[in-house]
Protein backbone atom coordinates (compact mmCIF):
# COMPACT_ATOMS: atom_id res chain seq x y z
CA UNK A 1 0.00 0.00 0.00
CA UNK A 2 1.27 3.45 -0.75
CA UNK A 3 -0.78 5.17 2.00
CA UNK A 4 -2.25 4.60 5.41
CA UNK A 5 -6.01 5.04 4.99
CA UNK A 6 -8.48 6.13 7.63
CA UNK A 7 -9.90 2.58 7.97
CA UNK A 8 -6.36 1.24 8.42
CA UNK A 9 -5.72 3.92 11.00
CA UNK A 10 -8.80 2.75 12.89
CA UNK A 11 -7.63 -0.86 12.57
CA UNK A 12 -4.21 0.17 13.91
CA UNK A 13 -5.62 1.91 16.97
CA UNK A 14 -8.04 -0.88 17.65
CA UNK A 15 -5.32 -3.52 17.41
CA UNK A 16 -3.01 -1.52 19.69
CA UNK A 17 -5.77 -1.22 22.29
CA UNK A 18 -6.40 -4.97 22.16
CA UNK A 19 -2.70 -5.82 22.36
CA UNK A 20 -2.21 -3.56 25.37
CA UNK A 21 -5.14 -5.20 27.14
CA UNK A 22 -3.79 -8.66 26.29
CA UNK A 23 -0.27 -7.78 27.38
CA UNK A 24 -1.18 -5.74 30.40
CA UNK A 25 0.22 -8.17 32.95
CA UNK A 26 3.54 -8.41 31.14
CA UNK A 27 3.80 -4.60 31.01
CA UNK A 28 3.06 -4.41 34.74
CA UNK A 29 5.72 -7.01 35.42
CA UNK A 30 8.31 -5.16 33.32
CA UNK A 31 7.47 -1.92 35.15
CA UNK A 32 7.69 -3.74 38.47
CA UNK A 33 11.25 -4.81 37.72
CA UNK A 34 12.41 -1.24 38.23
CA UNK A 35 9.39 1.01 38.71
CA UNK A 36 6.04 0.87 40.43
CA UNK A 37 4.53 -1.95 38.44
CA UNK A 38 1.49 -0.35 36.89
CA UNK A 39 2.44 0.62 33.36
CA UNK A 40 0.13 -2.10 32.03
CA UNK A 41 -2.76 -0.99 34.24
CA UNK A 42 -2.18 2.62 33.24
CA UNK A 43 -2.18 1.87 29.52
CA UNK A 44 -5.17 -0.43 29.92
CA UNK A 45 -7.17 2.64 30.89
CA UNK A 46 -5.81 4.27 27.75
CA UNK A 47 -6.83 1.25 25.67
CA UNK A 48 -10.37 1.49 26.94
CA UNK A 49 -10.34 5.20 26.15
CA UNK A 50 -9.13 4.45 22.60
CA UNK A 51 -11.97 1.99 22.14
CA UNK A 52 -14.46 4.60 23.31
CA UNK A 53 -12.97 7.22 21.02
CA UNK A 54 -13.17 4.81 18.07
CA UNK A 55 -16.79 4.03 18.85
CA UNK A 56 -17.70 7.69 18.93
CA UNK A 57 -15.66 8.82 15.92
CA UNK A 58 -17.66 10.12 12.93
CA UNK A 59 -14.99 9.38 10.30
CA UNK A 60 -14.27 13.04 9.63
CA UNK A 61 -10.53 13.16 9.14
CA UNK A 62 -7.33 11.79 10.63
CA UNK A 63 -6.89 14.85 12.83
CA UNK A 64 -10.27 14.53 14.51
CA UNK A 65 -9.81 10.86 15.31
CA UNK A 66 -6.25 11.19 16.58
CA UNK A 67 -7.05 14.29 18.54
CA UNK A 68 -9.86 12.59 20.42
CA UNK A 69 -7.61 9.57 21.04
CA UNK A 70 -4.87 11.86 22.32
CA UNK A 71 -7.17 13.75 24.66
CA UNK A 72 -8.71 10.52 25.89
CA UNK A 73 -5.27 9.12 26.71
CA UNK A 74 -4.02 12.29 28.35
CA UNK A 75 -7.08 12.38 30.55
CA UNK A 76 -7.37 8.73 31.47
CA UNK A 77 -3.93 7.15 31.75
CA UNK A 78 -2.12 9.44 34.14
CA UNK A 79 1.51 9.02 35.09
CA UNK A 80 4.44 9.70 32.82
CA UNK A 81 3.17 7.41 30.12
CA UNK A 82 -0.25 9.10 29.90
CA UNK A 83 1.29 12.50 29.25
CA UNK A 84 3.78 11.04 26.77
CA UNK A 85 1.40 8.80 24.80
CA UNK A 86 -1.20 11.54 24.84
CA UNK A 87 1.30 14.02 23.47
CA UNK A 88 2.26 11.48 20.80
CA UNK A 89 -1.27 11.22 19.46
CA UNK A 90 -1.94 14.94 19.81
CA UNK A 91 1.18 15.73 17.80
CA UNK A 92 0.26 13.15 15.18
CA UNK A 93 -3.18 14.74 14.94
CA UNK A 94 -1.62 18.10 14.08
CA UNK A 95 -0.60 16.53 10.77
CA UNK A 96 -3.99 15.04 9.88
CA UNK A 97 -6.25 18.00 9.40
CA UNK A 98 -8.58 17.47 6.41
CA UNK A 99 -6.68 14.27 5.48
CA UNK A 100 -8.03 10.74 5.07
CA UNK A 101 -4.73 9.10 4.18
CA UNK A 102 -1.02 9.44 4.99
CA UNK A 103 2.06 8.58 2.98
CA UNK A 104 5.23 7.35 4.66
CA UNK A 105 6.52 10.87 4.28
CA UNK A 106 3.51 12.17 6.22
CA UNK A 107 4.00 9.50 8.85
CA UNK A 108 7.63 10.44 9.21
CA UNK A 109 6.84 14.12 9.64
CA UNK A 110 4.13 13.40 12.18
CA UNK A 111 6.10 10.86 14.27
CA UNK A 112 9.23 12.99 14.05
CA UNK A 113 7.31 15.92 15.48
CA UNK A 114 5.88 13.72 18.22
CA UNK A 115 9.33 12.37 19.08
CA UNK A 116 10.71 15.87 19.56
CA UNK A 117 7.76 16.97 21.69
CA UNK A 118 7.97 13.87 23.87
CA UNK A 119 11.71 14.24 24.47
CA UNK A 120 11.11 17.80 25.52
CA UNK A 121 8.17 16.97 27.77
CA UNK A 122 9.99 14.05 29.41
CA UNK A 123 13.35 15.83 29.44
CA UNK A 124 14.99 12.75 27.97
CA UNK A 125 17.12 11.67 25.04
CA UNK A 126 17.56 8.41 23.24
CA UNK A 127 19.56 6.11 25.46
CA UNK A 128 17.92 7.07 28.76
CA UNK A 129 16.03 3.74 28.77
CA UNK A 130 12.49 4.92 28.10
CA UNK A 131 9.85 4.50 25.44
CA UNK A 132 11.91 6.94 23.39
CA UNK A 133 14.37 4.11 22.76
CA UNK A 134 11.72 2.25 20.79
CA UNK A 135 10.21 5.34 19.17
CA UNK A 136 13.41 7.00 17.94
CA UNK A 137 14.72 4.07 15.86
CA UNK A 138 11.23 3.61 14.39
CA UNK A 139 11.21 7.26 13.32
CA UNK A 140 14.66 6.78 11.83
CA UNK A 141 13.35 3.91 9.69
CA UNK A 142 10.43 6.03 8.53
CA UNK A 143 12.99 8.59 7.45
CA UNK A 144 15.11 6.02 5.57
CA UNK A 145 11.99 4.64 3.84
CA UNK A 146 10.49 8.06 3.29
CA UNK A 147 9.52 7.30 -0.30
CA UNK A 148 8.55 3.66 0.23
CA UNK A 149 5.01 2.29 0.49
CA UNK A 150 3.67 2.47 4.06
CA UNK A 151 3.46 -1.30 4.42
CA UNK A 152 7.19 -1.55 3.79
CA UNK A 153 8.22 1.46 5.89
CA UNK A 154 5.97 0.48 8.79
CA UNK A 155 7.35 -3.04 8.80
CA UNK A 156 10.85 -1.60 9.03
CA UNK A 157 9.75 0.80 11.76
CA UNK A 158 8.16 -2.03 13.73
CA UNK A 159 11.31 -4.14 13.52
CA UNK A 160 13.39 -1.16 14.65
CA UNK A 161 11.04 -0.39 17.54
CA UNK A 162 11.18 -4.00 18.69
CA UNK A 163 14.97 -4.05 18.48
CA UNK A 164 15.16 -0.70 20.26
CA UNK A 165 12.96 -2.02 23.03
CA UNK A 166 15.16 -5.11 23.37
CA UNK A 167 18.25 -2.95 23.66
CA UNK A 168 16.81 -1.11 26.68
CA UNK A 169 17.59 -4.23 28.71
CA UNK A 170 21.24 -3.25 28.42
CA UNK A 171 20.75 0.45 29.18
CA UNK A 172 21.20 2.22 32.47
CA UNK A 173 17.96 4.09 33.26
CA UNK A 174 18.33 7.84 33.56
CA UNK A 175 14.67 8.90 33.62
CA UNK A 176 11.39 7.68 35.04
CA UNK A 177 11.02 5.53 38.12
CA UNK A 178 13.38 2.96 36.62
CA UNK A 179 16.26 5.28 37.32
CA UNK A 180 15.76 5.13 41.08
CA UNK A 181 17.04 1.59 41.35
CA UNK A 182 19.55 2.30 38.64
CA UNK A 183 22.43 0.31 39.99
CA UNK A 184 20.26 -2.76 40.32
CA UNK A 185 18.04 -2.48 37.25
CA UNK A 186 19.88 -4.45 34.56
CA UNK A 187 18.47 -7.17 32.38
CA UNK A 188 14.88 -6.08 31.94
CA UNK A 189 13.29 -4.39 28.96
CA UNK A 190 11.84 -0.97 29.78
CA UNK A 191 8.06 -1.19 30.14
CA UNK A 192 7.32 1.93 28.10
CA UNK A 193 9.66 0.81 25.32
CA UNK A 194 7.84 -2.53 25.29
CA UNK A 195 4.43 -0.85 24.91
CA UNK A 196 5.84 1.48 22.24
CA UNK A 197 7.01 -1.50 20.20
CA UNK A 198 3.44 -2.89 20.45
CA UNK A 199 2.25 0.38 18.88
CA UNK A 200 4.50 -0.08 15.83
CA UNK A 201 3.81 -3.79 15.54
CA UNK A 202 0.10 -2.98 15.34
CA UNK A 203 0.81 -0.26 12.78
CA UNK A 204 2.75 -2.69 10.62
CA UNK A 205 -0.03 -5.28 10.71
CA UNK A 206 -2.67 -2.65 9.93
CA UNK A 207 -0.77 -1.39 6.87
CA UNK A 208 -0.16 -4.93 5.52
CA UNK A 209 -3.84 -5.80 5.61
Amino acid sequence: MMTLTLPQLRAWLSAFARDVLDDHDRLNALDAATGDGEHGSNLARGAAAIQDALAEDRDEDIATLLRSVGMAIVNSVGGASGALYGTLFLRLSDHGSGRDAWSTNDLHAAFGDALRAMCELGRVREGDRTLIDALAPAVAQLSTHRDAPVAESCEAAALAAAAGAQRTAQLKPRAGRGAYASGRAGGHVDAGAASMSLLFAALSRATCA
Binding site: A32, D36, E38, N75, G78
Partner: protein, 333 residues
Protein backbone atom coordinates in the same frame (compact mmCIF):
# COMPACT_ATOMS: atom_id res chain seq x y z
CA UNK B 1 -4.97 -10.31 47.93
CA UNK B 2 -5.40 -9.27 51.59
CA UNK B 3 -7.14 -5.96 51.00
CA UNK B 4 -10.41 -4.29 51.85
CA UNK B 5 -11.63 -3.36 48.39
CA UNK B 6 -14.31 -4.13 45.89
CA UNK B 7 -12.10 -4.13 42.82
CA UNK B 8 -8.75 -2.57 42.05
CA UNK B 9 -10.50 -0.16 39.71
CA UNK B 10 -12.84 1.20 42.37
CA UNK B 11 -10.34 1.40 45.23
CA UNK B 12 -9.53 5.08 44.74
CA UNK B 13 -13.07 6.29 44.13
CA UNK B 14 -14.33 4.23 47.07
CA UNK B 15 -11.69 5.89 49.23
CA UNK B 16 -12.80 9.33 48.04
CA UNK B 17 -16.46 8.61 48.66
CA UNK B 18 -15.56 7.38 52.14
CA UNK B 19 -13.45 10.46 52.78
CA UNK B 20 -16.29 12.78 51.87
CA UNK B 21 -18.62 10.89 54.18
CA UNK B 22 -16.13 11.00 57.02
CA UNK B 23 -15.49 14.74 56.67
CA UNK B 24 -18.52 16.56 55.30
CA UNK B 25 -17.47 19.61 57.31
CA UNK B 26 -14.04 19.77 55.67
CA UNK B 27 -14.20 18.62 52.08
CA UNK B 28 -16.31 17.88 49.01
CA UNK B 29 -15.55 15.11 46.55
CA UNK B 30 -16.61 15.65 42.96
CA UNK B 31 -16.72 12.17 41.41
CA UNK B 32 -17.37 13.51 37.89
CA UNK B 33 -14.20 15.53 37.87
CA UNK B 34 -12.20 13.40 40.27
CA UNK B 35 -11.20 16.17 42.62
CA UNK B 36 -11.42 16.97 46.33
CA UNK B 37 -12.01 20.60 47.32
CA UNK B 38 -12.49 22.49 50.57
CA UNK B 39 -16.07 22.49 51.82
CA UNK B 40 -15.87 26.23 52.44
CA UNK B 41 -13.62 28.47 50.41
CA UNK B 42 -13.10 31.03 53.17
CA UNK B 43 -11.87 34.55 52.55
CA UNK B 44 -10.36 35.31 49.11
CA UNK B 45 -6.70 34.32 48.96
CA UNK B 46 -4.10 32.54 46.90
CA UNK B 47 -5.31 28.99 46.22
CA UNK B 48 -3.07 25.95 46.82
CA UNK B 49 -3.54 22.89 44.64
CA UNK B 50 -1.68 19.62 44.70
CA UNK B 51 -2.18 16.06 43.58
CA UNK B 52 -0.39 12.85 42.89
CA UNK B 53 -0.70 9.13 42.66
CA UNK B 54 -3.05 7.58 45.19
CA UNK B 55 -1.75 5.06 47.72
CA UNK B 56 0.22 7.70 49.65
CA UNK B 57 -2.66 8.80 51.88
CA UNK B 58 -3.23 11.07 53.71
CA UNK B 59 -1.19 12.87 51.00
CA UNK B 60 -2.76 14.97 49.40
CA UNK B 61 -6.49 14.49 49.96
CA UNK B 62 -6.10 14.37 53.74
CA UNK B 63 -4.54 17.82 53.72
CA UNK B 64 -7.42 19.65 52.08
CA UNK B 65 -8.96 22.21 54.41
CA UNK B 66 -8.39 25.42 56.25
CA UNK B 67 -4.75 26.45 56.30
CA UNK B 68 -3.49 23.90 53.79
CA UNK B 69 -4.79 22.78 50.38
CA UNK B 70 -7.78 24.19 48.57
CA UNK B 71 -7.96 21.22 46.23
CA UNK B 72 -6.29 17.87 45.66
CA UNK B 73 -6.20 15.81 42.48
CA UNK B 74 -5.79 12.11 43.28
CA UNK B 75 -4.49 9.88 40.49
CA UNK B 76 -4.85 6.13 40.26
CA UNK B 77 -2.71 4.17 42.68
CA UNK B 78 0.89 5.35 42.17
CA UNK B 79 -0.02 7.18 38.94
CA UNK B 80 -0.19 10.94 38.70
CA UNK B 81 -3.51 12.70 38.11
CA UNK B 82 -4.48 13.71 34.60
CA UNK B 83 -4.65 17.28 33.29
CA UNK B 84 -8.44 17.31 33.28
CA UNK B 85 -8.49 16.94 37.06
CA UNK B 86 -5.91 19.66 37.57
CA UNK B 87 -7.77 21.98 35.22
CA UNK B 88 -11.05 21.38 37.03
CA UNK B 89 -9.46 21.92 40.43
CA UNK B 90 -7.83 25.14 39.34
CA UNK B 91 -11.01 26.49 37.83
CA UNK B 92 -12.91 25.65 40.99
CA UNK B 93 -10.59 27.16 43.58
CA UNK B 94 -8.96 30.12 41.80
CA UNK B 95 -10.45 33.16 43.52
CA UNK B 96 -8.57 35.57 41.31
CA UNK B 97 -5.52 35.79 43.57
CA UNK B 98 -3.57 33.14 41.70
CA UNK B 99 -2.88 29.47 42.27
CA UNK B 100 0.17 27.64 43.60
CA UNK B 101 0.76 24.09 42.38
CA UNK B 102 2.70 21.89 44.79
CA UNK B 103 4.21 19.32 42.44
CA UNK B 104 6.27 16.33 43.56
CA UNK B 105 9.23 15.60 41.34
CA UNK B 106 8.00 12.47 39.58
CA UNK B 107 7.81 12.37 35.78
CA UNK B 108 4.06 11.88 35.77
CA UNK B 109 3.33 14.73 38.17
CA UNK B 110 5.72 17.12 36.44
CA UNK B 111 4.32 16.39 32.98
CA UNK B 112 0.65 16.39 33.91
CA UNK B 113 0.79 19.55 36.00
CA UNK B 114 2.84 21.00 33.16
CA UNK B 115 0.21 20.16 30.54
CA UNK B 116 -2.56 21.53 32.78
CA UNK B 117 -0.61 24.71 33.46
CA UNK B 118 -0.17 25.29 29.73
CA UNK B 119 -3.88 24.91 29.09
CA UNK B 120 -4.82 27.18 32.00
CA UNK B 121 -2.22 29.84 31.38
CA UNK B 122 -4.04 30.48 28.11
CA UNK B 123 -7.30 30.86 30.05
CA UNK B 124 -5.82 33.66 32.11
CA UNK B 125 -5.20 31.85 35.39
CA UNK B 126 -2.12 33.05 37.20
CA UNK B 127 -0.20 29.94 38.20
CA UNK B 128 3.04 29.36 40.07
CA UNK B 129 4.61 25.96 40.50
CA UNK B 130 6.89 24.67 43.23
CA UNK B 131 8.59 21.35 42.60
CA UNK B 132 9.28 19.29 45.73
CA UNK B 133 12.41 17.14 45.48
CA UNK B 134 13.57 16.59 49.04
CA UNK B 135 14.69 12.98 48.70
CA UNK B 136 18.45 12.83 49.31
CA UNK B 137 18.75 9.19 48.27
CA UNK B 138 19.51 10.18 44.69
CA UNK B 139 22.69 12.04 43.98
CA UNK B 140 25.35 12.66 41.39
CA UNK B 141 24.01 12.19 37.87
CA UNK B 142 20.63 11.13 39.31
CA UNK B 143 20.21 14.25 41.40
CA UNK B 144 17.67 15.71 38.98
CA UNK B 145 15.43 12.72 39.81
CA UNK B 146 15.16 13.41 43.55
CA UNK B 147 11.63 12.52 44.52
CA UNK B 148 9.09 14.57 46.42
CA UNK B 149 8.62 12.90 49.80
CA UNK B 150 7.80 14.11 53.33
CA UNK B 151 8.66 17.74 52.60
CA UNK B 152 5.50 17.84 50.52
CA UNK B 153 3.52 17.97 53.76
CA UNK B 154 5.66 20.78 55.09
CA UNK B 155 5.34 22.76 51.86
CA UNK B 156 1.58 22.32 51.82
CA UNK B 157 1.33 23.37 55.46
CA UNK B 158 3.61 26.40 55.26
CA UNK B 159 2.43 27.65 51.87
CA UNK B 160 -1.15 27.06 53.04
CA UNK B 161 -0.54 29.20 56.10
CA UNK B 162 1.11 31.93 54.04
CA UNK B 163 -1.86 31.97 51.68
CA UNK B 164 -4.29 32.04 54.59
CA UNK B 165 -2.41 35.02 56.03
CA UNK B 166 -3.25 36.96 52.86
CA UNK B 167 0.21 36.92 51.27
CA UNK B 168 0.26 37.38 47.48
CA UNK B 169 1.13 34.56 45.09
CA UNK B 170 4.82 35.37 44.70
CA UNK B 171 5.32 35.43 48.47
CA UNK B 172 3.41 32.20 48.96
CA UNK B 173 5.52 30.61 46.25
CA UNK B 174 8.67 31.97 47.89
CA UNK B 175 7.71 30.39 51.23
CA UNK B 176 7.10 27.10 49.43
CA UNK B 177 10.46 27.23 47.63
CA UNK B 178 12.30 28.16 50.80
CA UNK B 179 10.71 25.18 52.51
CA UNK B 180 11.91 22.89 49.72
CA UNK B 181 15.42 24.33 49.85
CA UNK B 182 15.67 23.87 53.58
CA UNK B 183 14.18 20.34 53.78
CA UNK B 184 15.69 16.94 53.17
CA UNK B 185 14.23 13.44 53.45
CA UNK B 186 15.63 9.95 53.67
CA UNK B 187 13.57 6.76 53.80
CA UNK B 188 13.96 3.06 54.49
CA UNK B 189 11.53 0.18 54.00
CA UNK B 190 11.32 -3.08 55.91
CA UNK B 191 9.10 -4.67 53.30
CA UNK B 192 7.17 -4.03 50.09
CA UNK B 193 3.66 -2.84 49.42
CA UNK B 194 1.19 -4.69 47.24
CA UNK B 195 -0.27 -2.82 44.29
CA UNK B 196 -4.04 -3.47 44.21
CA UNK B 197 -4.01 -4.03 40.44
CA UNK B 198 -1.34 -6.69 40.42
CA UNK B 199 -1.74 -8.25 43.84
CA UNK B 200 1.95 -8.97 44.08
CA UNK B 201 4.57 -7.43 46.37
CA UNK B 202 6.55 -4.61 44.75
CA UNK B 203 9.77 -6.41 45.64
CA UNK B 204 11.06 -9.30 47.70
CA UNK B 205 13.01 -8.48 50.83
CA UNK B 206 14.57 -11.30 52.84
CA UNK B 207 13.85 -11.24 56.59
CA UNK B 208 16.41 -9.24 58.52
CA UNK B 209 17.12 -6.94 55.58
CA UNK B 210 16.23 -3.30 55.08
CA UNK B 211 15.80 -1.48 51.76
CA UNK B 212 17.73 1.79 52.10
CA UNK B 213 16.89 5.02 50.32
CA UNK B 214 13.46 4.08 49.03
CA UNK B 215 10.84 6.35 47.52
CA UNK B 216 7.09 5.96 47.43
CA UNK B 217 4.99 3.56 45.42
CA UNK B 218 7.13 0.53 46.14
CA UNK B 219 10.21 2.01 44.46
CA UNK B 220 13.23 0.04 45.42
CA UNK B 221 16.01 1.77 47.30
CA UNK B 222 19.65 2.29 46.54
CA UNK B 223 20.89 -0.64 48.51
CA UNK B 224 19.90 -3.42 50.79
CA UNK B 225 21.48 -3.82 54.19
CA UNK B 226 21.02 -5.94 57.29
CA UNK B 227 18.39 -4.29 59.47
CA UNK B 228 20.22 -2.82 62.50
CA UNK B 229 18.70 -1.89 65.89
CA UNK B 230 16.35 1.10 65.81
CA UNK B 231 18.87 3.54 67.25
CA UNK B 232 21.25 2.75 64.40
CA UNK B 233 18.43 3.13 61.87
CA UNK B 234 17.69 6.55 63.37
CA UNK B 235 21.34 7.52 63.18
CA UNK B 236 21.46 6.58 59.49
CA UNK B 237 18.25 8.48 58.72
CA UNK B 238 19.49 11.60 60.49
CA UNK B 239 22.96 11.37 58.98
CA UNK B 240 21.56 11.35 55.45
CA UNK B 241 18.77 13.86 56.06
CA UNK B 242 20.93 16.59 57.59
CA UNK B 243 24.07 16.15 55.48
CA UNK B 244 23.08 18.92 53.06
CA UNK B 245 21.50 21.22 55.64
CA UNK B 246 23.63 23.60 57.68
CA UNK B 247 22.92 21.93 60.97
CA UNK B 248 25.28 23.21 63.61
CA UNK B 249 24.88 24.04 67.27
CA UNK B 250 21.53 25.65 67.92
CA UNK B 251 20.13 25.04 64.44
CA UNK B 252 16.35 25.02 64.73
CA UNK B 253 14.59 22.16 63.02
CA UNK B 254 11.07 20.92 62.37
CA UNK B 255 11.01 17.15 62.09
CA UNK B 256 8.55 14.91 60.29
CA UNK B 257 8.90 11.20 60.86
CA UNK B 258 6.33 9.48 58.71
CA UNK B 259 5.57 5.80 58.64
CA UNK B 260 5.19 4.30 55.19
CA UNK B 261 1.82 2.82 56.14
CA UNK B 262 2.50 -0.56 57.70
CA UNK B 263 4.76 0.33 60.60
CA UNK B 264 2.94 0.30 63.93
CA UNK B 265 2.83 3.37 66.15
CA UNK B 266 4.83 1.53 68.82
CA UNK B 267 7.81 1.23 66.51
CA UNK B 268 7.49 4.58 64.77
CA UNK B 269 7.27 6.62 67.95
CA UNK B 270 10.11 4.56 69.43
CA UNK B 271 12.19 5.33 66.34
CA UNK B 272 11.36 9.01 66.77
CA UNK B 273 12.91 8.98 70.24
CA UNK B 274 16.19 7.80 68.72
CA UNK B 275 15.92 10.35 65.88
CA UNK B 276 15.45 13.07 68.46
CA UNK B 277 18.54 11.94 70.34
CA UNK B 278 20.60 11.77 67.14
CA UNK B 279 19.54 15.27 66.15
CA UNK B 280 20.31 16.72 69.58
CA UNK B 281 23.69 15.04 69.49
CA UNK B 282 24.39 17.15 66.40
CA UNK B 283 23.38 20.31 68.22
CA UNK B 284 20.00 20.68 66.52
CA UNK B 285 17.07 22.03 68.53
CA UNK B 286 13.91 20.13 67.63
CA UNK B 287 11.44 22.99 67.67
CA UNK B 288 8.38 21.15 66.33
CA UNK B 289 7.74 17.56 65.30
CA UNK B 290 5.16 15.39 63.66
CA UNK B 291 5.22 11.60 63.99
CA UNK B 292 2.72 9.35 62.25
CA UNK B 293 1.52 8.18 58.87
CA UNK B 294 1.60 11.32 56.73
CA UNK B 295 3.16 10.27 53.44
CA UNK B 296 2.78 6.55 52.88
CA UNK B 297 3.07 3.76 50.38
CA UNK B 298 -0.01 1.65 51.03
CA UNK B 299 0.92 -1.02 53.60
CA UNK B 300 4.71 -0.73 53.32
CA UNK B 301 6.50 -1.14 56.62
CA UNK B 302 9.10 1.59 56.80
CA UNK B 303 9.75 5.18 57.71
CA UNK B 304 10.94 8.41 56.20
CA UNK B 305 12.61 11.22 58.06
CA UNK B 306 12.21 14.80 56.88
CA UNK B 307 14.19 17.57 58.52
CA UNK B 308 13.41 21.23 57.86
CA UNK B 309 15.96 23.79 58.93
CA UNK B 310 13.43 26.33 60.11
CA UNK B 311 13.49 30.02 61.01
CA UNK B 312 11.09 32.46 62.67
CA UNK B 313 8.86 32.89 59.63
CA UNK B 314 8.56 29.18 58.82
CA UNK B 315 7.88 28.22 62.43
CA UNK B 316 5.23 30.92 62.64
CA UNK B 317 3.52 29.48 59.56
CA UNK B 318 3.89 26.00 61.05
CA UNK B 319 2.05 27.09 64.18
CA UNK B 320 -0.76 28.80 62.26
CA UNK B 321 -4.16 27.12 62.53
CA UNK B 322 -4.85 24.13 60.32
CA UNK B 323 -7.96 22.05 60.03
CA UNK B 324 -7.77 19.04 57.73
CA UNK B 325 -8.32 15.30 58.13
CA UNK B 326 -4.69 14.63 58.90
CA UNK B 327 -3.39 17.84 60.48
CA UNK B 328 -5.40 19.77 62.96
CA UNK B 329 -4.34 22.39 65.43
CA UNK B 330 -4.99 25.93 66.51
CA UNK B 331 -8.40 25.98 64.83
CA UNK B 332 -11.59 25.36 66.77
CA UNK B 333 -14.00 22.49 65.95
Amino acid sequence: MQKFMRTADTAVSDYLHGLARAHPDLIRYDPERGIVVRAEAGAPKVAIVSGGGSGCEPLHTGFVGQGMLDAACPGSVFSSPVPRQIVAATQTVDQGHGVLYVVTNYGGEIMNFGLAGEILGREGHEIEKVVVDDDVALDGDLRHLRRGMGATVLVEKLAGAAAESGAPLDEVAAVARRTVQRSRTFAVALGPCVHPSTGSPAFELPAGQMEVGVGLGGDRGLSREPLPPADAVAEALVERAVAELSISDGARVIVLLSGLGGTPELELVGLFGHVHTALERRGAAVERSLVGNYVTSLESPGAQLTVLHTDDELTRYWDAPVRTRALRWGAPA
